[in-house]
Symmetry: C2
């Protein structure tokens, strides 16, 4: 049921999380987020960050702590987590971990309308997707292995392991789907092709 959060953007979660370590100013947050690779898991955008910080302040989850000036550069406002912010962080995390949410991946949208393309086009597209998935998978695998080799505890890579699991499932699904299309006996290919006025694939 996912309650309505005062600040809904997940970037805010990352901000709250980093502020548990120490107060920071927005640019520092921005930098830290990007350097820690959190941008792989949470959509990050420079402009949005300042917005989110404002929202969090307005909601009372963080509070302006000091404003320092360094040379002629613009003022940097340092924010610190409030108690309310600490609660929000834990509550939000609990929800994200404990309750799966209905989401709308792009591939699902594509699949739901795939009948609009003829199977003769779909088959090579699915093959292409299969290859991209394999590449992506390899990239993540390497990233994870390198990080582990560098001594990072596995716990901090668990989101990448999850991604790998999803990619594997998707790859398997694509294979099965291809099979269902191209199997000339029991498959959907003939009916589907005929609907588009084409000869059956795999024939």
């Amino acid at each position: 049921m996912a309650k309505k959060r005062k600040v809904a953007n997940l970037l805010a979660l990352a901000v709250l999380s980093y502020l548990t370590q120490r107060p920071m100013h927005p640019y520092e947050l921005s930098r830290t987020l990007r350097d820690n690779g959190d941008a792989r898991s949470i959509k990050f955008n420079h402009g949005s960050l300042y917005m989110v910080v404002q929202q969090l302040a307005r909601a009372g989850f963080i509070a302006e702590q000091e404003t320092s000036r360094d040379g002629q550069r613009p003022e940097r406002t340092v924010y610190a987590l409030t108690d309310a912010g600490r609660l929000e962080l834990r509550d939000w995390l609990r929800e994200l971990i404990g309750e799966p949410e209905h989401e709308y991946p792009h591939f699902v949208a594509g699949l739901s309308l795939i009948g609009a393309l003829p199977p003769s086009e779909v088959v090579p597209l699915l093959r292409a997707r299969g290859e991209r998935i394999a590449e992506e998978r390899a990239g993540i695998r390497k990233l994870v292995d390198d990080a582990l080799a560098g001594g990072l505890p596995g716990l901090f890579l668990v989101e990448e392991e999850y991604r790998l699991a999803l990619l594997d499932a998707e790859a398997a699904f694509v294979e099965r789907f291809l099979g269902q299309i191209t199997d000339p006996v029991s498959g959907w290919g003939p009916m589907w092709a005929e609907f588009h006025g084409e000869p059956a694939p795999g024939a």
Copy 2:
């Protein structure tokens, strides 16, 4: 690389797709989308639909065809697909099927910051998630089976099969993760718990 579409909202894709069948007015689209269950695959929102229709018209993908008045009800403007719209539809679908895109599921965000919760909380949360996943899975399974029994060709349910595949992968991941936490010998539990100043779980 996912080109910039003039209209990016996936609802627009559904609109284009339905207009291939015949011209419709927005409310009819709205109704058809909801009745066909497309709202499960594409985020649907009454207000957004009118916006998207406007955007599509502005972009030249659909064109106002006639304006009819029925009794005292507000005017209904009927839109038809243009040739440009037909091209956009196919091109977009090709992209969605052929090129996986980097996305940001909520669970990934949660996992990436999960260290902020102590393992004593995480374990029951993951168990709860596992149960929810199982329920969701059962619901989809039933929906698919009923539809198949009702004679709907499997092709039109392929997006639900995909969802099932993802759910299974997620369930398996959650199980593995629980194992990694609670295994008292090789697991992350002790270190993690200690970091939070708690006794090790599963002990």
